[in-house]
């Protein structure tokens, strides 16, 4: 049976050759686009991975204040780690001040150079340049370049895996090869440059490492942290000045406490000594007082008064004698004696109080001395518990966190995910379109199928028969698409933007095995699934029902349109009749829009980034400081930035906690006087789906500490993932001094010693960086937009065509009655406009909404906010374009109405 039916498959193909050719071409085109887009991305991914492998890309890198000693190097090597000095100088060209060349020695083992042209420099006056820099400056092999007064001959143009993205600083948002590049010179040339004294900045001691066996970044990092150095070893005045203000305070504290202890002891000793004379002083004054009493008593006895004066009675006795004495001379003499005795008694009591005070003070200082001694001991004990030694390591960056390495691969992840997803969507759509045709065939062959059933042919036989053609067409088309795409004919166009941005050699187009399987398996499998689902129900009728070609009257068709005008009623009936095709049109529109929205979201995102970065970046210059001065420059606004990490969707992103003053003119942020309540940037909130009032946790991976904040507000700031807090609170939280800062914002360029800087970011850099997103994405945006429009046109054309084909007899009939083309069009074609118009109203926002939900997953590796809000005018434009495309297709199909001959209706319908 199948043999006979197979012959019919070929005849069906011949009969509907144009239809199946078009569908086949669409599938081939879809596969072609998927293989080209995904293949290009895979080519770049594999190419950069292979290159990284060939060039022994580092597992990580670290910087140190002073070069490691031989022993330290040996220790690291004993940890089964290959270590490589990759010291460099950043050199500003004499004649182009805004151009910095990073000067390296040629590499031997890790991050080896791959020469895209020329060869490695071998002479002291030879040099190799990084590819993108050379391209931007139009430098070729055999040209020369002047560095520090020496003319170097360019012997090679090279790329290196550790600068896949040639970023000057790892915090840079984009590469700018016009302003930054790499140069590689011989060891002799490097030493000559070093000794020339013409370097504007200190040499950077960068080491790269590669594990020979198991990766143990933490182990290496712990060891490097344990290497302490004496600050005096560092030959950098700016560092020394900074160190004196910051790292040197430990010694100051120890010294101050020690001095306090000594001084306290001295005071105590003196007071003890002083108190030891207290008795002598008291005895002396008592002796003087007692002697005077005795003298006065003797004088009174001689005058006939028998009294003995003592300390307690002298006042009373003398007053009695004075009052009873007749001699005025004696009275005067006694009054003087009493006055003298009063003074002596007062003096004696004063001395007593003084000596008592000295005694108390002596006892107090004794306690104080003990306390200060305890303080001294406690301070020393405490300081010795903390590690205040100066760690030699200044930075540690593992490969996974290095934005320069595998940058191309990471960038292309989006293309791969989008391409594969869009392909699936397309195949489902195309399979559905094919199934509509198959259903049309089944309906028109209803009586034949019924006859075959009655003769014993099974449903599975027929199911197999009817899906054979779609499956074969899908398979062949997929294969054709794959073969054409495999030639790489369009790949250079897709990959061009990457080659013009990343520093990579040009790779041969490569199609991974999964794409081959995808191309030849997915279209037929999707075709089988969709067609079986759709056809199965159609073949589920009884032979008699099929032979009679009974039309199932669906309930929803039985609506009363009696009061509606004829044309509207007719169109509604027609819509119900062609509900499958109508759904296919709307479904096709939806899926096309879904694909379109990927491109649109990419475009909107890039566009919004470019616009928002420009609007939100209020500063002209941002200086990240290595050694900030005590006082910030007058024209700059200080801030405190601290880099943390936060993970989402499998990617670990940098998040900057930024402490600012409330009156910082560059950020429209009202920070809270709190260490918990913070304000976050909109980019951060969008990327991590954070809402006001929620808690957010970021990690300090170096210190292995987590910080939890409560989001009290979200401010519009797209240029980076920021957590804003009050600078004083942040200083306090991080244990920094009250005047600490490490970032300066300014509205003009300020004069800062380059040695103090980690990096300088200008507003122009930020804006340019944002535009890079757009240029990298544009090929994909164009491809997706073009593909979706073509798909929509083809689906609309095919479905509208099948609708009128299915009504060919009726069209013929009404033409017999005298309906003219315009009227036939009104009945059979124009009604679709309402479907398209109404469908688009629902489908456009729906597709945008769905893609908005899916899009974050597609760009999960991209470090930016997700502002994909489209203006209303965008939706209006899409709507107008859809209607425009409808009218275009309609115009094509109008001519087809003339092709239905009047004789069609004269044939028997039985």
């Amino acid at each position: 049976m199948q043999k006979v039916l197979r012959k019919r498959v070929i005849r069906s193909l011949k009969k509907h050759f144009v239809r199946y050719t078009m569908l086949g071409l669409m599938i081939a085109m879809a596969i072609f686009l998927v293989v080209t887009i995904v293949g290009s991305a895979e080519t770049l991914t594999k190419g950069t991975k292979d290159l990284a492998s060939d060039s022994c890309v580092e597992d990580g890198e670290f910087e140190v204040f002073v070069p490691l000693s031989a022993n330290e190097e040996e220790h690291i090597k004993n940890m089964d780690i290959a270590l490589n000095e990759q010291f460099y100088y950043d050199y500003q060209l004499e004649d182009e001040e805004d151009v910095t060349l990073r000067l390296f020695k040629v590499r031997d083992d890790i991050n080896k150079l791959h020469y895209v042209s020329g060869e490695e420099p071998s002479d002291i006056n030879e040099i190799a340049l990084e590819k993108r820099y050379a391209a931007e400056h139009n430098v070729k092999v055999k040209d020369s370049i002047k560095i520090a007064g020496v003319n170097y001959k360019v012997t090679g143009i090279a790329v290196t895996s550790d600068y896949d993205a040639p970023l000057k600083s790892i915090s840079d948002t984009s590469c700018n090869s016009k302003c930054f590049g790499l140069a590689f010179m011989t060891n002799e040339a490097y030493e000559r440059f070093k000794e020339s004294g013409k370097a504007q900045k200190a040499e950077t001691y960068l080491y790269t490492y590669k594990f020979n066996k198991d990766i143990d970044n933490d182990g290496l990092k712990d060891y490097l942290k344990s290497i302490k150095i004496d600050a005096d070893q560092i030959d950098d005045d700016l560092f020394q000045e900074y160190w004196d203000r910051t790292g040197g305070v430990e010694d100051e504290l120890r010294d101050a406490v020690s001095e306090l202890r000594d001084a306290t002891n001295e005071v105590n000793d003196a007071l003890v000594e002083l108190s030891e004379n207290n008795d002598d002083i008291n005895d002396g004054t008592s002796t003087i007082f007692d002697s005077y009493l005795e003298q006065t008593s003797d004088a009174l006895n001689k005058s006939g008064y028998n009294v003995t004066l003592n300390e307690d009675n002298y006042e009373e006795e003398l007053d009695n004698i004075i009052n009873t004495c007749d001699s005025s001379v004696m009275r005067l003499s006694l009054k003087n004696a009493k006055k003298k005795l009063d003074e002596l008694k007062k003096y004696k009591d004063g001395i007593k109080e003084y000596t008592n005070g000295v005694k108390e003070l002596s006892d107090g200082t004794d306690e104080m001395a003990e306390g200060v001694n305890d303080l001294d001991k406690a301070v020393n004990d405490t300081l010795s518990e903390f590690d205040f030694g100066l760690t030699n390591m200044t930075s540690f960056l593992v490969q996974a966190d290095n934005p320069r390495i595998y940058a191309t691969k990471n960038d292309k992840l989006v293309d791969i995910e989008v391409g594969v997803f869009a392909g699936f969507v397309l195949f489902i759509l195309l399979s559905y379109v094919i199934s509509v045709f198959v259903v049309h065939s089944i309906e028109s062959e209803s009586s034949i199928i019924g006859t075959l059933y009655s003769m014993g042919v099974t449903k599975n036989d027929l199911l197999l028969h009817y899906i054979t053609l779609p499956v074969v067409v899908s398979f062949v088309a997929g294969l054709v698409g794959l073969l054409i795409a495999s030639t790489g004919v369009m790949a250079p166009m897709i990959a061009e933007s990457s080659y013009q941005y990343f520093s990579i050699p040009e790779f041969s187009f490569y199609v991974p095995a999964y794409l081959i399987v995808y191309s030849v398996v997915v279209p037929p499998v999707v075709a089988i699934i969709v067609n079986v689902l759709v056809i199965n129900n159609k073949l589920n009728r009884t032979p008699l029902s099929l032979i009679r070609n009974e039309v199932k009257q669906a309930k929803n068709k039985n609506i009363n349109l009696k009061n509606m005008n004829f044309i509207s009623a007719f169109r509604i009936r027609q819509m119900f009749k062609e509900v499958r095709s109508t759904l296919a049109v709307v479904f096709g529109m939806f899926l096309s829009l879904l694909i379109f929205m990927i491109g649109v979201n990419c475009f909107i995102l890039c566009n919004n980034i470019a616009k928002d970065y420009a609007n939100d970046t209020k500063f002209e210059y941002m200086y990240t400081l290595k050694y900030p001065e005590k006082e910030p420059p007058k024209d700059a606004e200080p801030a405190y930035a601290y880099s943390c990490k936060k993970k989402t969707m499998g990617y670990n992103f940098d998040v900057t906690v930024l402490g600012i003053d409330d009156d910082n003119p560059y950020f429209d942020v009202e920070t809270r006087k709190s260490k918990v309540d913070v304000v976050v940037s909109s980019a951060f909130a969008e990327k991590f789906k954070i809402k006001k009032g929620e808690e957010v946790v970021v990690s300090d991976e170096d210190k292995e500490v987590k910080y939890a904040f409560k989001v009290s507000d979200i401010v519009k700031y797209s240029s980076g993932f920021y957590i804003f807090m009050d600078i004083d609170e942040m200083r306090d939280m991080m244990g920094e001094a009250d005047d600490y800062y490490n970032v300066l914002f300014a509205d003009k360029e300020i004069d800062i010693n380059p040695g103090r800087l980690y990096s300088t970011t200008s507003r122009a850099d930020v804006v340019k960086g944002s535009e890079v997103f757009t240029s990298l994405m544009m090929p994909m945006i164009y491809t997706l937009s073009f593909a979706s429009i073509i798909i929509f046109i083809l689906v609309l054309y095919l479905m509208m065509k099948v609708m009128i084909d299915r009504s060919s007899q009726n069209i013929s009939l009404i033409k017999v009655f005298g309906y003219k083309r315009k009227e036939v069009k009104k009945l059979y074609l124009d009604g679709n406009m309402y479907i398209i118009a109404a469908g688009a109203l629902i489908v456009i926002p729906l597709a945008k909404l769905i893609m908005n939900e899916l899009f974050p997953f597609m760009v999960s590796n991209v470090a930016c906010g997700l502002n994909i809000k489209a203006p209303i005018i965008f939706f209006v434009c899409v709507y107008v374009v859809i209607l425009g495309l409808y009218f275009l297709v309609n115009a094509f199909l109008v001519r087809r109405l003339d092709k239905y001959s009047l004789a069609e209706i004269l044939k028997n319908r039985e």
Partner: protein, 233 residues
């Protein structure tokens, strides 16, 4: 003569497959007459009907309807001719399946500015109670009534019926013929009925007999038998 067919020739195919279907047919029908075109299968009766209806062109000859030549009319003029003058009834009804009875009739009502009264027509044809049904919910006779109503709604001057009872049983056929008879009487509609049913010729005014593309004989019935009295339908 209202319908004047003069020396009409029509052939199909080329070379070896060339078939001369009409070999110089000449015939005429008076206004308001019912006329049967009879003949064996392949005699050219349906082709002649199609040519008169402007559905098919002729190789040569002349066809005049109400004195107006339709041979050589342009496409648009033919549309106007069919729209203004002709009503068609087919053997297999050719109703539009997704339209109700009323909507099927409205397909032709839409084409004229002065249609017959829809309600009256529905009542006359016994379709009132079925007006909201779809063709699949009707019997063959009801479907043919609907097709007749559709043809009549625009009050055509010439009604062309191609085997109008060919798909119906005897009783239903009789009902349809009675209906056509009544319509002819009521609206004075000229009717050309193609049929192979030998009994129908007795109920019409004129008979044209075709054989192998030629008019073998044509005659006017002296006695017209009412449709209800026809036998062997």
């Amino acid at each position: 003569m209202y319908v004047e067919v003069s020396n009409v020739k029509k052939s199909y195919g080329e070379g070896g497959s060339h078939v001369q279907v009409l070999k110089g047919v000449t015939a005429g029908v008076e206004r308001g007459e019912m006329c049967v075109i009879q003949g064996t299968s392949g005699s050219g009766k349906s082709t002649l009907l199609n040519c008169i209806g402007g559905l098919d062109d002729v190789d040569s000859g002349s066809i005049k309807i109400g004195g107006e030549e339709i041979v050589g009319l342009k496409k648009d003029e033919l549309y106007d001719y069919r729209r203004d003058t002709i009503g068609f009834i087919f053997q297999f009804y050719n109703l539009i399946p997704n339209l109700t009875v009323r909507e099927n009739i409205e397909v032709c009502r839409y084409l004229t500015d002065s249609p017959l009264d829809m309600e009256e027509l529905l009542n006359v044809l016994g379709l009132k109670e079925h007006e909201n049904k779809f063709p699949s919910q009707l019997s063959g006779g009801q479907q043919q009534r609907t097709a007749i109503a559709r043809a009549l709604i625009k009050n055509p001057k010439l009604l062309l019926c191609d085997e109008p009872t060919g798909a119906l049983d005897s009783n239903t056929s009789r009902d349809i013929l009675i209906l056509l008879e009544e319509i002819n009487r009521k609206y004075q509609t000229t009717m050309l009925i193609v049929t192979h049913n030998n009994s129908i010729k007795d109920m019409v005014h004129r008979v044209i007999y075709l054989k192998d593309g030629e008019v073998m004989k044509t005659y006017v019935n002296d006695v017209i038998v009412p449709a209800r009295e026809l036998e062997d339908l």
